[in-house]
């Protein structure tokens, strides 16, 4: 890992308008939790928190979108605007470049998603037995954000349409295909994250249950992350910068 590139990337991300937009977006589940607590006392708090707020809003939407924004921007923005040449014309091993970019993108993604998860869960579960839901989703979003970020970082070095391809993955593949065909869930980071949450949460199956087993989800997270990082490093080693005529 290269500390100079890590610090530069953090500075790039924090200064961008998209970061502010993601912070505002992360406040949405918190606001809904507040409205829920103010207005509806009839539903099961654990059920609503786990399935609607933490799964439906954070794991399904906020987590992949944040990882997509920061994962594709970490290196993709520099490739797009031409500044990557200043990093790649230095004697820095390519695996150090990828590691620095990945950690910076993960840190920013995790900070936003975790803050939203903790605030949303704490507000929505206030006054009832928590049943390990908060810790479960903290672990799920922490690990899930790493896998998503690695995946989207890889996308940014293999295609110039990383943002669009990432949106297709999140909304078409994970949002539609894996919902229709249960066999495809093994290739869904969202399902891995939910599997981790299910492994840690102390809830009944009626309250919250994931489609993938926790151990299988953890193994898949490890495999997908390792493959994505390896491919990203390999791609960056043979990355060409020049003028196509």
């Amino acid at each position: 890992m290269n500390g100079t590139i890590f610090a530069l990337t953090l500075r790039q991300m924090i200064g961008r308008r998209r970061t502010l937009l993601m912070v505002l977006f992360a406040l949405l589940p918190v606001a809904i939790a507040v409205i829920y607590r103010l207005g509806n006392e009839d539903t099961n708090q654990q059920d609503f928190t786990a399935n609607v707020l933490l799964n439906g809003l954070i794991v399904t939407t906020l987590l992949p979108l944040s990882a997509l924004i920061f994962g594709t921007a970490a290196l993709g923005a520099e490739i797009e605007d031409g500044t990557s040449v200043y990093l790649l014309s230095k004697p820095v091993p390519r695996q150090h470049v990828i590691a620095a970019k990945l950690l910076a993108a993960w840190l920013v993604t995790a900070a936003i998603v975790l803050a939203s998860t903790i605030l949303t869960g704490a507000i929505a579960l206030e006054g009832v037995e928590e049943q390990g839901i908060l810790l479960a989703f903290v672990a799920a979003t922490l690990l899930g954000s790493f896998v998503y970020t690695a995946l989207f970082l890889l996308l940014s070095v293999v295609t110039s349409r990383a943002l669009i391809d990432g949106l297709v993955y999140v909304f078409i593949w994970e949002g539609v295909v894996t919902e229709l065909f249960s066999g495809t869930r093994i290739f869904s980071v969202r399902q891995y994250s939910l599997g981790v949450a299910d492994l840690i949460a102390d809830t009944s199956a009626a309250t919250f249950e994931a489609d993938l087993g926790g151990t299988g989800a953890l193994v898949m997270m490890g495999i997908v992350s390792a493959v994505a990082i390896t491919l990203a490093v390999r791609r960056l080693r043979s990355f060409e910068i020049g003028e196509a005529v």
Partner: protein, 319 residues
């Protein structure tokens, strides 16, 4: 008739100490050939890559910088391959053409970033030296987003020389600079070259190359059209066939006089328009007014018709 036989820049001997070597290098994108079977060797000093836009100059520079894999042939810088060799950047500095830099960094931070990424022992001191070398001390703490194009370019050069590279590659380095900045940058590059370093820069402007480069490589349509010191290239360009349009008080009689001059290859009289083809630009420019005066013909206009750089490149390509 031409003096081309005396100028064979393509056959010049390789430099005693080659720091850059390309052997039969080609690069294509799909079916399009950007660089076609180019070979040359360069030693220390300033070399200009001259050619029109899209000729393949940037592609060559990017291959030298290890950013493009040659489709065939070998590229060596300081005796070693550069493709997929990040360690080579310890001895190479690159100034890319694109203006992009990090707008949120100050100029000094940008150069410091480069020093740190090179792992220099005292990055702060090295950055300060590089900033002073490009005469940017006053503006060094301003954000680069507010820099003019010329200031941006100078900081890019500072970033590229912060680690004292033996080879410095610059892609269109004078773009956007005003004349004073241009002169200053030329002085700086001459100083760097005087320390025994190899500098290669690309340009599509003849005068820039003429003023700075000791050696010139003329690249046209992906091919090396000519190579040699600038005087040889300039002579080659000057001694090529030229066409003049002539207007006088008696075009028909002037045509008959001019055709007898040894510098004239042919004349064409089309109505009121007299075109004269010559193989010796300077000799004809002197002879025409003299002959006209001797014959008592009033010369109204003597205009070379093909002085654009494109026509020069076109001629070199056809040779």
């Amino acid at each position: 008739m031409t003096s081309q036989a005396t100028v064979e820049p393509r056959e010049e001997a390789p430099p005693e100490r080659s720091t850059i070597e390309l052997v039969n290098v080609s690069r294509w994108y799909g079916n399009i050939v950007a660089v076609n079977e180019i070979s040359f060797s360069l030693g220390p000093g300033v070399t200009g890559l001259l050619g029109p836009n899209g000729a393949g100059k940037s592609t060559i520079l990017h291959m030298l910088a290890g950013f493009l894999r040659p489709s065939s042939g070998t590229v060596r810088v300081l005796g070693e391959a550069v493709w997929q060799q990040p360690e080579a950047y310890r001895r190479i500095g690159l100034v890319p053409e694109r203006e992009a830099a990090y707008p949120f960094l100050s100029g000094y931070e940008f150069v410091l970033l480069s020093a740190k990424l090179h792992g220099l022992p005292s990055p702060g001191e090295a950055a300060m030296r590089a900033v002073q070398a490009v005469d940017m001390e006053e503006a060094q703490h301003r954000a680069m987003g507010g820099y003019s194009k010329g200031m941006n370019q100078r900081m890019k050069v500072a970033s590229a020389i912060v680690h004292d590279p033996q080879v410095l590659l610059l892609d269109e380095p004078f773009n956007g600079m005003d004349p004073r900045q241009r002169l200053h940058m030329m002085d700086l590059l001459r100083e760097v070259a005087a320390q025994g370093r190899t500098i290669v820069f690309s340009s599509h402007i003849l005068e820039e190359v003429e003023r700075l480069a000791e050696k010139v490589l003329v690249i046209i349509a992906g091919r090396l059209a000519a190579a040699g010191d600038f005087r040889a290239i300039r002579k080659l360009m000057t001694d090529r066939p030229h066409t003049f349009t002539v207007r006088s008080s008696d075009n028909r009689r002037l045509a008959s006089v001019l055709v007898a001059d040894p510098s004239v290859v042919g004349v064409e009289l089309d109505g009121e328009r007299l075109s004269v083809r010559t193989s010796e630009f300077a000799a004809f420019a002197l002879a025409a007014p003299r002959l006209a005066r001797t014959e008592g013909i009033r010369l109204l206009e003597l205009l070379p018709t093909d002085e654009s750089l494109e026509s020069v490149f076109s001629y070199l390509m056809k040779r």
